[in-house]
């Protein structure tokens, strides 16, 4: 009887859903929302697995074991974290200034092309090879990023489309060099260059493919960028340019200089990622030097809320998913575009979750208010 009465009274009370603005954003709240929405994206991806005819639960178990479940898996996850992380922390800084660089892929490719020139066609002294390659990779990536930056600052050209077009252009240049002038003599006609001499290879940690120069640069740049953003005046200016360009202009901050700075940093780091791939992993320039690392890197940057440290952590997580994804791609015969399904879904869920960092959904049942 009692239960019945309660039901009746519940039906009489009004149920009311409203959206209210959050007065203050809390950092823990933001992290919880991001993690929660990342987890929520997995069942959605699972639907597509099921439509394709693969058991989603089975697929996920294989992905997580593949990426995080063994010391080999973990070392491969770190191998992928190097290019993804280098691109991602750079992108995070650019996005902080609301410069939407989508061109990390092209900047990475230009880094790897320039490195190949240093390794095979310049007479660099063997002892200096590695340092020169790293420097050349940074400069090439930065130079490729300066073009859209200048077009944006001088003429107000949309950087999203220009950086994207430049990805396609760099891919054409890559195709041209590996099928034309740089095609290796000893490669039986494959579209790739000859192997780099051993002095132009990045050394790796014993028993793994982790090239430690790049790892050191990744860790150092993450920390330095964190300090830059949160502890220096330049960082304050970058954030102000991103949040409120008008206020920044009134405060006497040069928008152009800030935009150029963040593009040089993010392009340069993507270029270094290119050095790592060509001189650390492949040892030669190949057509498929990057399976879309520059695009994938956009996800950890947003997942990490554009904070360099959190972006690095998110890069590790996403890289693990990629390694596990490669595994099931082989064992379950899934197409290579699978990675974009993950990327797109996670990104969509994370940015949708950002809604909840700004607004709260209030559920009002009679006198009671419940909100998230």
């Amino acid at each position: 009887m009692l239960i019945f009465e309660r039901t009746v009274s519940l039906m009489k009370t009004s149920l009311n859903i409203r959206i209210e603005k959050r007065l203050a954003a809390s950092k823990t709240n933001n992290i919880i929302i991001r993690v929660l929405f990342t987890i929520l994206s997995f069942p959605f991806i699972g639907i597509w697995f099921a439509i394709y005819g693969v058991n989603p639960l089975d697929a996920y178990i294989k992905i997580f074991i593949g990426g995080f479940g063994s010391s080999y898996g973990l070392s491969e996850t770190i191998v992928k974290m190097l290019p993804i992380g280098l691109c991602a922390v750079g992108l995070a800084i650019a996005y902080k200034a609301r410069v939407l660089n989508i061109g990390a892929e092209g900047q990475l490719i230009m880094g790897s092309i320039t490195t190949t020139w240093v390794a095979l066609y310049s007479n660099v002294p063997p002892g200096l090879a590695v340092s020169v390659m790293l420097l050349a990779g940074f400069i090439a990536g930065a130079a490729w990023a300066i073009i859209p930056a200048l077009l944006k600052t001088k003429l107000g050209v949309n950087e999203v489309i220009v950086t994207l077009m430049m990805n396609y252009i760099s891919l054409s240049i890559l195709n041209y060099v590996v099928t034309g002038p740089w095609r290796g003599e000893a490669q039986w006609g494959f579209p790739q260059t000859d192997l780099f001499p051993s002095y132009a290879r990045l050394p790796t940690l014993a028993g793994t493919r982790i090239h430690y120069h790049t790892l050191a640069i990744l860790l150092a740049s993450t920390i330095l960028l964190y300090i830059l953003i949160y502890k220096t005046t330049i960082g304050y200016e970058i954030k102000l340019v991103g949040n409120n360009p008008d206020a920044a202009r009134y405060a006497g901050i040069s928008l152009s200089k800030t935009i150029l700075l963040v593009m040089v940093l993010s392009g340069g780091l993507a270029g270094i990622a290119g050095v790592g791939e060509v001189a650390g992993i492949q040892g030669r320039l190949i057509r498929g030097i990057s399976p879309g690392y520059g695009y994938t890197a956009i996800i950890p940057a947003w997942l990490g809320g554009l904070d360099p440290l959190a972006t690095l952590a998110a890069s590790f997580f996403i890289s693990g998913l990629m390694v596990g994804g490669d595994n099931i791609q082989v064992s379950l015969r899934l197409p290579s575009g699978l990675v974009y399904l993950f990327n797109g879904t996670i990104l969509l869920f994370v940015i949708s979750g950002e809604f909840l960092t700004r607004y709260k959904v209030v559920l009002q049942v009679g006198e009671r208010r419940i909100w998230i």
């Binding site: 107000g156 999203v160 489309i161 041209y176 197409p335 797109g344 940015i351």
Partner: protein
């Protein structure tokens, strides 16, 4: 058939998928929403069109399904950018990735298959024999439809009440809202329409222009259409010019190959031209004069 006329005919054929996508994006941006997801929406359209035609055997069913799929898929971006008010650039990117990913997964079984049903060019007698301009008159029905749709869309946008409402929503949403128009609904409809036309453009590629399904089939056409939207100065008639110009660049790419320019480098041509075109149409004074929608990319929320 003279060479100039056949070049023109090829340029129109190559430009038609760009035209559909650009027309849709013009309406979308006129209502204040940037849909960067075009590349993904077109890919979804290309796969849906191909798969439907393969299964039903009817190419028109394929086009219809592609339009529907493009429209429905674009609602993801609509929900994120209109209802949730998230950053439209990022939401668009996510839409591209999602569209590419879903179609590569579901399209795997269609790679390398071919279709029996084909679109037939309708060559208009006499007119198609005119030197040079004859190139306008030897096309498939959809290429003609593209031009007609562009004219209708131009008329609706600039000469009717509906058009005034769409443009006002993209300029001053608060004012339109105060006048009792549902800003959200108008934007949803425009994004949906953009998706429908994007899906149609995608299917035109997979069913007619380069028949077949494979990953990466769009080759950046969605991004080029975004640049063309700016180039056209958000005008459907300008879109026709832009799309056929780019069709011409694509055709030029094949013909320059015959003169010994490496194909790999020529592949970059449309993208280089896109940057140049975007740069020339982005000069500040031109934009102010010729009308970028004032509320473009800005989420609208009624603050109560």
């Amino acid at each position: 058939m003279d060479i100039a006329a056949s070049l023109l005919a090829e340029a129109i054929k190559a430009g038609t998928p760009l035209l559909f996508a650009t027309l849709g994006e013009v309406y979308c941006e006129r209502s204040g929403v940037i849909n960067l997801g075009l590349e993904g929406i077109m890919t979804i359209g290309a796969l849906t069109g191909f798969a439907t035609t393969f299964i039903t055997g009817s190419i028109w069913m394929g086009f219809l399904a592609a339009m529907l799929a493009g429209g429905v898929f674009s609602l993801i971006h609509a929900f994120a950018s209109i209802s949730l008010g998230v950053n439209q650039t990022v939401s668009g990117l996510a839409t591209v990735m999602l569209g590419t990913g879903i179609s590569s997964l579901l399209g795997k079984r269609y790679v390398g298959l071919s279709l029996r049903d084909r679109l037939m060019p309708m060559t208009i007698p006499f007119l198609s024999e005119i030197p040079v301009l004859g190139g306008f008159f030897r096309h498939d029905p959809l290429a003609y439809a593209g031009i007609v749709i562009a004219i209708v869309m131009w008329y609706v946008l600039f000469k009717t009440r509906i058009g005034i409402i769409i443009r006002a929503v993209g300029e001053k949403p608060e004012a339109v809202d105060a006048a009792g128009v549902n800003v959200y609904l108008v934007r949803y409809i425009c994004v949906f329409l953009g998706g429908v036309l994007g899906g149609l453009g995608g299917a035109y590629v997979s069913l007619y222009y380069t028949p077949g399904w494979r990953e990466g089939i769009m080759m950046g056409r969605g991004w080029i259409a975004l640049a063309l939207t700016i180039f056209s100065l958000w005008n459907p008639i300008g879109s026709v010019l832009g799309a056929f110009l780019f069709g011409g660049v694509e055709v030029l790419q094949f013909h320059l190959q015959e003169y010994g320019v490496p194909a790999s480098l020529l592949g970059a041509l449309p993208y280089v031209v896109t940057i140049i075109v975007l740069t020339t149409s982005s000069f500040g004074f031109m934009r102010r004069k010729l009308g970028v929608p004032a509320a473009l990319g800005k989420p609208y929320r009624r603050e109560s």
